[in-house]
Amino acid sequence: MSTRLARLRSDVISIAPPFVWLVLFLLLPFILVLKISFADLKFGVPPYTSLTEWKDEALSLTLHLRGYLLLLSDSLYVSTYINSLRMAGITTLVCILIGYPMAYYIARAPERIRHVLLLAVILPFWTSLLLRVYAWVGILRSDGLLNSLLMNLGVISSPLEIYRTDLAVYIGLVYAYLPFFILPLYATLVKMDLRLLDAAYDLGARPWRAFLSVTLPLSMPGVISGAMLVFIPAVGEYVIPEMLGGADTLMMGRIMWSEFFTNADWPIASAITIVMVSLLLIPLIVFQVNQAHRYQSQGER
């Protein structure tokens, strides 16, 4: 009995510390956001009211719905949510269209080249994203690299207006998140058992048929991981729309930022956060289940 207890204790000690950190600095803060989203604005420190009050021997709980009601009644917020989801969705689709062939061809390249190509996908991760997004400002501006190139080639006669439009934000988002899509998909494709393809060919499948009925289904976990790694953060992206988008490029990250820093309205910012996370709940669950499945099947091996 005591050895079992000792084993249990050593298991807890070996498993718990990262868990404690994450509960303290990830779960707990999020519960606080939920709490403050039901508070009201107040002058002072902290700038929100307390939900519970002890007065006249009665404990009262007050839930202020101001933030949530404002979100529903103001069409700006509603259209911002819809727009963020749409932009993240289109970004994800484009990443799949560009990233799938890239991941596929890297995974099927000869081993020597494969490592170089993989490194070339990872390398941008190690250089500052902020600076790389900033590079697009210089490329897309009306007096920028792209326009001067196209005008010198005679393709266009007057500069294209891309900088400070939604198109620029799409370019920036796809650019920033493409490696996040390629890497998990590559990891899935490279581990695929190629004998399955051989079997399909032996049974007379054409290459396309073999791809559609063998490779594509087997690569789905990678596609899902990658798509979620693009979609979920893109919904809340702040830096890219702020740097490349116009004043009318509505995205949640920008609204949250301005409620927090410009308006200093923490309860509203919290309510916006809670609604955004709940909109992302389904993708988040898909991602987590997919992730748990990957870890579990690997752990059992």
Binding site: F19, W21, L32, L284
Partner: protein, 275 residues
């Protein structure tokens, strides 16, 4: 023969097209930053001659240098802490198998990979404000609070890298050591840790750059006098072009290139040594 080749030799044209255009897209912006950092003109359209003037003005910018110093400190501390916790979590995920609460564990460990940074920033800020009003700690926000935020955010990436490396390890080495009577802790430090060292190094480097790069979390969690490099750059470039930033980016890319070259040289030597 032709049939055996088929799955491994996909269409050449498709391969060149997809990879060529894809990498062009990924690398043209970086190249443009490098080229125009040496341009005498502030414009990115005209090349008016080679010049190092932007490097010169970069190194005379006291505010930027100060911010860079603080950022390096935070990034060093973040990368180290994120590596320790991330390796720990990655080991648990890869080796401890199923235990009660495994799903919650996976959930918490992978959440920072996808959770928008704005959400992380806001929620941690509220935590620190609440803690401060309850216990008078951690007081003024600054380097410490940014470090906590960055570590939480970066450890998830280290975990992913490390757990996939541990999973690929040959388990029999660890089992042999256990059979010979080594304690689990000793097995981890003597066998597992040296074998996953390359993964830890790349995780550390990734955490280092993610911390250096982050604008959002650092903006929420910084206090007076603790402006880091990326928020500083961001506040300058959001309004337009700043040629000094091209010079900074080039130095950044140069540093990364040197580290990668050294790392691959070391790896090649190790591989030769092993074979």
């Amino acid at each position: 023969m032709a049939r055996r080749l088929a799955p491994n030799a996909p269409s050449r044209l498709g391969q060149w097209l997809a990879l060529g255009l894809g990498f062009l897209f990924l690398y043209v912006p970086i190249l443009s930053l490098i080229v125009f950092s040496f341009n005498d003109s502030a414009m990115m359209t005209t090349w008016s001659g080679f010049s190092l003037r932007w490097y010169k003005s970069l190194f005379q910018d006291a505010a930027l240098l100060n911010a860079a110093g603080l950022s390096l400190q935070v990034a060093l501390m973040t990368a180290t802490a994120a590596s320790v916790i991330g390796v720990w979590a990655g080991y648990v995920l890869a080796r401890k198998g199923k235990f009660r609460g495994f799903s919650l564990y996976v959930g918490l460990v992978s959440a920072p990979l996808v959770i928008p940074e704005v959400v992380l920033g806001i929620s941690l800020l509220l935590l620190f404000v609440e803690l401060d009003s309850l216990f008078g700690w951690p007081g003024q926000r600054g380097m410490f609070t940014i470090w906590v935020g960055h570590t939480t955010f970066c450890m998830a990436f280290v975990t992913v890298i490390v757990q996939s490396r541990i999973r690929d390890l040959d388990r029999s080495l660890e089992e042999a050591a256990l059979d010979l009577g080594a304690t689990p802790a000793k097995v981890f430090f003597k066998i597992t840790l040296p074998l996953i060292a390359p993964a830890i190094v790349s995780g550390w480097l990734l955490a280092f750059t993610l911390s250096l790069d982050d604008v959002v979390i650092a903006s929420f969690l910084s206090g007076p006098g603790s402006t880091l490099l990326s928020p500083e750059i961001f506040s300058r470039v959001r309004l337009g072009l700043k040629p000094e930033v091209n010079a900074l980016a080039t130095l950044f890319v140069g540093a990364v290139a040197i580290v990668v070259l050294i790392a691959s040289a070391v790896q090649r030597r190790q591989r030769r040594f092993q074979s």
